[in-house]
Symmetry: none
Subunit: 132 residues, 4 copies
């Protein structure tokens, strides 16, 4: 129950299409159920530093099976998971990472997107995830 | 003078085609002239541990502008570059990484492949590089 | 489209001159378009711990093509990029890193400065960048 | 009893001159008595991967107060320091790093050079060290 490369490529194609529509240059990463990278692309001109962020968003979304932005609400000062970002070699807890589910609702991986404002990152990741 | 994403996708497509021909399951990574990842795929069933090796092969080939196997000849016990692999956060110095050149002969990145015996890794990387 | 060593040396000379004028002891680092170090100096008596900060400021400015202080505004608690500093092996998001542009406006690297209050760090980095 | 920045810049200038004479493109790094980086340059076109090697050679030479190649003799399979390269975040134990001594013979830092065959790396490092 892992995302296949063919599925990952569909996700990335859909995410690239959405990114082009909103005129954003994105880094897009898909990880499998084991949180290991399956596919990655950096669009020409996208921020170099967003490559690692896209990967960490995808990993973070699979590590906790929820959109990354949900974790960020809990990791603020005074909140229960303050500074959880120090774990796992570095988490990213703002929007742009979403879990991938198959038709039965099983989580089979995650997609992470970085390169614009977080609302755009999340929209592109969601467009990718819906291509499944 | 960096490989574009379109070029990287051609390289990966050619590498996947070659891998299928020899019935190998590969991890394939393309980095740009700054040794930063541009694109990556892990074929279904490919070794998980070969993902990082493919990335490190691509980086190593760009770091020294030569096929990774050339470095490995020099890094053996008693040879001039023994244990060079400890630099740069970890090099991979056996075959499977090759530089990418444009029509003018400028190096614009590198491709790294891992997932089979090193002869196959090198053959698939070379097939990818030739697609430029 | 990378900063050359000759350009980097001019940038560092201008930054050192500015640092002397304001009586500050600085670490100064220049990276190229791939965020790889081209040149570095630590002025006598400058903080040891600022060497890594100068490097990380330069990398951060190139990773996101903006002055580092801009990122810091967005990475505060409650802001969209909270804890982005955990990516890319550690970012520095307070002032002192600025992108380097050529005459066409292309980004060809970045300079990072650390050793004093952040206003001084930014002023010295800017003096360096203007030497291009 | 640390190398000053002025001394480090003399060392680098002498090393660059020697490198130009032998037509080699080098990465050159000077560390102080605390094994912390004082100055660094990457000559245009020098191998990207040699930057970290030059730094590690300089650190290694100061860590053990001897030319790096001496350590490499002892770190071979069967020898007393086999695989010492795993310590200190990665050592480089082939030639190209040499300690820096003041007129009293006190060690005040080290210089590391990487970018060519190890004989050239060592020659350029030695030319730098002699500029003191």
């Amino acid at each position: 129950m892992n995302v296949t490369l063919e599925q990952a490529e569909k996700i990335i194609a859909a995410a690239k299409k959405k990114a082009a529509e909103i005129d954003a240059k994105m880094n897009i990463c898909v990880v499998d159920g084991g949180a290991n990278q399956v596919a990655f692309v950096r669009m020409d001109g996208a921020w170099l530093g967003s490559a690692d962020i896209a990967l960490k968003k995808a990993k973070t979304a699979r590590f906790f099976d929820m959109p990354t932005g949900e974790i960020g609400k809990l990791s603020q000062p005074g909140e229960p998971l303050f500074n959880i970002e120090h774990s796992n070699g570095g988490l990213i807890s703002f929007p742009g990472g979403v879990p991938l589910k198959n038709k039965n609702g099983d989580i089979i991986g995650a997609v992470g997107v970085s390169g614009s404002v977080v609302e755009n990152d999340h929209a592109v990741a969601t467009a990718g995830a819906k291509a499944l």
